[in-house]
């Protein structure tokens, strides 16, 4: 009797599970308060920035009105105005489009290439590993921002070129994380067991190893995303990122660096946006890593 009910409850549970591992992951993610807050903030940020053309005139971003210069935040200008009298609120909202989405694209490219290179290096070892990792070492021996600067300098300014530059600077770090994770897995018995069942190399890499290394990869990607937003900002601040007058969070701070002493809100407000975005991403990354691990208690 008892065993029967037990089996019945298991069957029920089994059906519930059937709905998907994704469902379980979502449930576990939702338990993590910090991650949920991060996700909430980030979604609001993204939606606001993306939907800007619907409710905010782009002309506000570039319209200069010297008489209105250095207005403190008020109802007319929510975040105040800069030295040319441009509305800071509009500039930050439109700037977010570039900062956030350029970051996403960069990290996505770096993620794909990093996983491919790192996975191959860790799995095959030997010469393949040596060639790939020595190449990564060369890239890593130059500080990331400096490397991006060199690439931008060589390719010229522009959004696409900056994306390339930032991705290249990200790849070695991603590849290194993936390689280390794959190498620890390579020696594991379940990989050998998968091979003894007749799995091919590609299948082992994609079906057995990749899901197992997803945790560290996601942390890497999320940190990379935060880092990239900061890099875009630094490049912008150094004046070789997005060319003015196109707004971008780092560029906005850079444009106003001479006025920061007297009008601190010009630095603090865009700075806050950068910090909040990066923090949210890190929280989401932590939450995702925990949620993806089935061993976590529900």
């Amino acid at each position: 009797m008892n065993a029967e009910t037990n089996a019945a409850s298991l069957r029920k549970e089994g059906k519930k599970r059937k709905k998907g591992q994704i469902h379980m992951i979502v449930l576990r993610f939702r338990k993590n308060k910090l991650a949920m807050i991060g996700l909430f903030v980030l979604v609001i940020l993204m939606v606001t920035c993306l939907s800007a053309p619907l409710w905010l005139n782009y002309r506000l971003v570039t319209r200069q009105k010297i008489v209105d210069a250095y207005q403190a935040p008020s109802s007319a200008h929510l975040f105040g105005t800069d030295q040319f009298g441009r509305d800071l609120f509009a500039r930050i909202i439109y700037g977010g489009q570039i900062s956030l989405f350029a970051g996403l694209i960069t990290v996505f490219i770096a993620f794909l290439l990093g996983v491919a290179l790192g996975g191959a290096a860790g799995y095959f070892g030997g010469t393949v590993d040596n060639v790939i990792m020595r190449f990564c070492d060369i890239l890593m021996s130059v500080p990331g921002v400096l490397l991006s600067m060199c690439i931008v300098a060589a390719l010229g300014q522009g959004l696409v070129k900056m994306l390339i530059a930032l991705s290249v600077a990200q790849i070695p770090r991603q590849a290194r994380t993936v390689r280390a994770a794959v190498m620890t897995l390579r020696g594991q018995e379940f990989v050998e067991a998968a091979r003894s069942c007749g799995s091919s190399n590609t299948r082992i890499l994609l079906r057995h190893m990749l899901p197992n290394v997803l945790g560290p990869i996601i942390i890497g990607v999320m940190q990379g995303l935060g880092g990239t937003i900061l890099s875009i900002a630094s490049l912008g601040f150094l004046g070789i990122g997005i060319a003015p007058p196109t707004p971008e969070w780092g560029t906005i701070i850079s444009e106003n660096q001479n006025s920061l002493m007297y009008y601190p809100y010009l630095g603090i407000i865009p700075g806050l946006f950068i910090v909040v975005a990066v923090l949210s991403l890190n929280f989401i990354g932590d939450g995702l890593r925990d949620a993806l691990d089935p061993k976590q208690k529900n």
Partner: protein, 327 residues
Amino acid sequence: MEKLLEIKDLYVNYNTDESVVHALNGFSLDIYKGETLGLVGETGAGKTTMCLSVLRLLPEQVGEIVSGEIKYRDLDILKASNDQMRELRGAEVSMIFQDPMTSLNPIMTVGDQIKEVLDLHYPKMDEREKGKRVDDILSLVGIMPERKDQYPHQFSGGMKQRVVIAMALVSEPKLMLADEPTTALDVTIQAQILALMKELKVKFDSAMVLVTHDLGIVAKFCDSVAVTYAGAIEESGTIEQVFTRKENHPYTTGLFHCIPDLTSKAPRLTPIPGYMPDPRSLPKGCKFADRCTKCKDKCREMEPHMHEVEPGHFIKCWFSSEGSEEK
């Protein structure tokens, strides 16, 4: 009887940076259809190496098959293409690994892991049929099919080994290589798992190589036995021939002395003195000479051949009844 697997004079080396380890040295073995063969020997005698060689899964760049022949039915394993090998693994010949704790993928449900074998070897089978086969094999190994959506960490060690066995059997292979399948389990579960394996083996009419240190397990579950030492077979025969102890290789005799016997008055077991020869530099003559009680000068000079002391019972020693007659 149909010969399923034939290993002939196999030499396998592990090449490391510092030295060459001779893991198998002239290893020969035949396995017939439906047979259960117990492969006994100390650690490092080459038992696992033999299993891996058959599936050609020796660690790349390190493990090297120097010479010899492995034939599975008509397929020459050492010459087969990678695709042929992939088709063989899991479908015709499957392997059960030593440690069930680590031989399951921690983030795949057990049902998915079993189904994967079917995905690999029966790509055309429809999902419902696959699901049914997974359910069937799970209930055969004594796990409620309802649990197939659970992850390995939700199972106990013995249950995990059942899952591993289910994985190895779901495609109904002709040959199972069980590499110490019960070493990581406690004694009460050992007997259950072995009984289960034997039952399924009979059900699917497959042959099994059971690698173990435990002569008791061999006596209980196997039809025939092969004793390995330093990468070669020293004695082989049916259970009756070897375990009646009428005539044995000195090494086998030594192994028997290591088993506790309730009827004997001996206060201590008598272990075999010394260690196995260093596989990096093997002695010229008989590999067991240094630890053998019967060792003579001749043993150190020339390696003995296999002698058939009675039909089907082989001993590799100069002093076996057949061997001594020859010289």
